[in-house]
């Protein structure tokens, strides 16, 4: 099959968990990578080495281990900055996950600064967002008296761009959207939406939680008018650990925003009466940062860079095309989202007529196939299709065509088991 990672079997050996079997001795078919990715040995080893040999607190420790830990931690930042082509490495802020990164921006925009959101202002999001890119903006607009508006999408899972003129106006202060949908797989037009938003002076916040694992990203190479002001993603979906997220932000914007959490590390000086704050990136990193997690994330993005993000993307597209084809052979199966693999990401949500997604997932699980059933933290997008939940398969660098075959066969079996058709 064209496009697959050339050394797929070697890649699979890098991921120890893929050697696991179920209680019945069945091989594990992990098709839930949009939920969280598996971890290669190098990431685990980097974390172990750090904990066993270099562990100390960072920045404030000036001894041998402290210097080593600081170098390892800041080295993680350098690697992440390189991975997304950040114009400046100090623009990379470590948060606990993508959700915190989005809240950081939404909450501080409500407090002060030139982009402060207030009564009458408009924040624009989309109907296909993950809850983590809806709820923070609901909170912001509710607290400030601003208005939350959103792009809808069509049956094919594409944003209705005819709403641009109506939604992105002089009143619009923020435009936020997901680069790649975690439910539909849709890839949104970042450059176009960003340009339009910038024309009215709005800031653009892009949720790259599903894009960073799959697409090559080079922020520095983007024309500045098409470059979002903020891009966030989460460590555990790019073969890194939990407990760490990434917020990249344009320096001038980050400098203008007030601090989010207060405490150690983010200060310049403290008196009981008042405090002054540190510069980037520390201003937004209160308390002990995710040190071993940054080490792991650094190893993770290096691993992906080693595979080559172009190759990773090609692999995702090949597997996705193959999966769409296979799913098409299952009677009563409806894919929710774009059907052209070249226009979408690797998460495929679907309905199977007559069988509830939980029951689909259950039958698959008994056969060792891990998919997700539920709303995938995208209830509004499900509501759009008139369903409450769906089944989702999502592949990654370790997924083989054989695993897709196993999925498709299991779906046929599921229909038999529940006697539909």
């Amino acid at each position: 099959m064209e496009g697959l990672l050339p050394d797929l079997e070697v890649v699979r050996k890098d991921f120890p968990i893929l050697g696991r079997t179920t209680a019945d001795g069945l091989p594990l078919v992990y098709l839930d990578s949009a939920n969280t990715s598996q971890k290669p040995q190098v990431v685990i080893d980097a974390m172990v080495d750090h904990l066993e040999r270099h562990n100390a607190n960072v920045a404030r420790a000036m001894h041998l281990l402290g210097a080593e830990a600081t170098e390892a931690f800041e080295g993680g930042r350098d690697k992440v900055a390189a991975f997304i082509g950040a114009p400046e490495r100090d623009e990379v802020i470590f948060t606990k996950n993508a959700s915190e990164a989005l809240n950081l921006v939404a909450q501080t925009l409500g407090l002060e600064g030139a982009h402060r959101v207030g009564p009458g202002d408009v924040v624009v999001t989309t109907e296909m967002e993950h809850h983590s890119n809806i709820v923070p903006w609901q909170m912001l607009t509710q607290r400030t008296g601003a208005e939350l508006r959103w792009f809808t999408f069509d049956e094919a899972g594409q944003l209705d761009l005819s709403q641009v003129d109506e939604l992105i106006t002089e009143r619009t202060k923020v435009v936020t959207f997901t680069w790649v949908s975690n439910m539909l797989g849709t890839v949104n037009p970042v450059a176009e939406l960003t340009r339009r938003a910038h024309e009215v002076g709005a800031i653009v916040v892009v949720d790259a939680s599903q894009a960073a694992p799959q697409l090559p990203i080079d922020l520095a190479a983007m024309p500045v008018e098409e470059r979002p002001d903020v891009v966030v993603f989460t460590g555990h979906k790019v073969v890194g650990p939990t407990g760490i997220g990434v917020l990249w932000g344009r320096r001038s914007l980050l400098e203008e925003l007030p601090p989010f959490l207060g405490g150690g590390e983010m200060i310049e000086t403290v008196t009981m009466e008042r405090s002054t704050y540190a510069g980037l990136p520390h201003k937004f990193e209160a308390g002990t940062p995710p040190i071993v997690e940054a080490v792991g994330l650094g190893a993770a993005v290096d691993y992906l860079a080693g595979l080559g993000m172009e190759a990773v993307h090609a692999h995702e597209q090949a597997i996705t095309a193959y999966a769409l084809e296979g799913l098409g052979t299952v009677p009563g199966l409806r894919v929710l989202g774009p059907l052209d693999a070249t226009q979408r990401g690797g998460a495929i949500s679907f309905e199977l007529a007559g069988v509830h997604p939980h029951d689909v997932a259950q039958v698959l699980d008994v056969r060792g196939i891990a998919v997700r059933a539920g709303h995938h933290c995208a209830r509004p997008a499900h509501a759009k299709f008139g369903v409450q939940s769906s089944t989702r398969m999502s592949s990654y660098v370790y997924t083989t065509p054989g695993e897709i075959d196993a999925l498709v066969e299991a779906l046929h079996y599921t229909r038999d088991y529940f006697k539909v058709g």
Partner: protein, 163 residues
């Protein structure tokens, strides 16, 4: 493999799923002794809107009716259906007892012997207890019923201060 599935998806469960009992909201939601609640399983989004009508007669508070609308998987739908069979018409105290027995079964991780006398069709859920992720599904309707019933008891108790 299929045996494992069959332990979960007992015929009784699939029957209730295909033909749920007492489904569809009934009665006047604002009537005395009636309470309606809406419960959600945040994990998967399964939802139930459930209405309980309690009535007192001869000093005994009874579950006069339970009706509901729900979307969800076979386990949550069947469990809600079985629950209505088990509690409708029973004195509240006895119904709460049945709820306790079902809860114990579900939380037993498969080690509790189900009591058919008490649980009737509910014994079909014994296999669910071995699937931790599905226990919440089996409890959704029960939790909603307990919540609505407790609320109704509070209001009924207040209304009935004079006896």
């Amino acid at each position: 493999m299929s045996a494992e599935l069959d332990a979960l998806y007992q015929e009784i469960i699939l029957d209730h799923y295909k033909n749920p009992h007492h489904k569809g909201l009934r009665g006047d939601p604002s009537a005395d002794g009636t309470v309606e609640v809406h419960h959600v399983n945040p994990t998967c989004g399964d939802e139930v809107t459930l209405r309980v009508h309690l009535e007192e007669a001869d000093g005994v508070l009874r579950v006069q009716d339970v009706s509901y609308d729900a979307v969800g998987c076979s386990i949550s739908q069947a469990s809600t259906s079985v629950m209505t069979d088990l509690v409708i018409g029973k004195p509240v105290e006895e119904a709460m007892g049945v709820h306790e027995v079902f809860l114990t079964l579900m939380q037993g991780k498969g080690s509790v012997e189900p009591d058919e006398e008490v649980l009737e069709d509910g014994i079909a859920f014994a296999g669910v207890a071995k699937f931790p992720a599905r226990v919440k599904c089996a409890l959704l309707g029960w939790m909603a019923w307990k919540d609505a019933t407790s609320q109704s008891m509070t209001t009924t108790a207040q209304g009935g201060d004079d006896d």
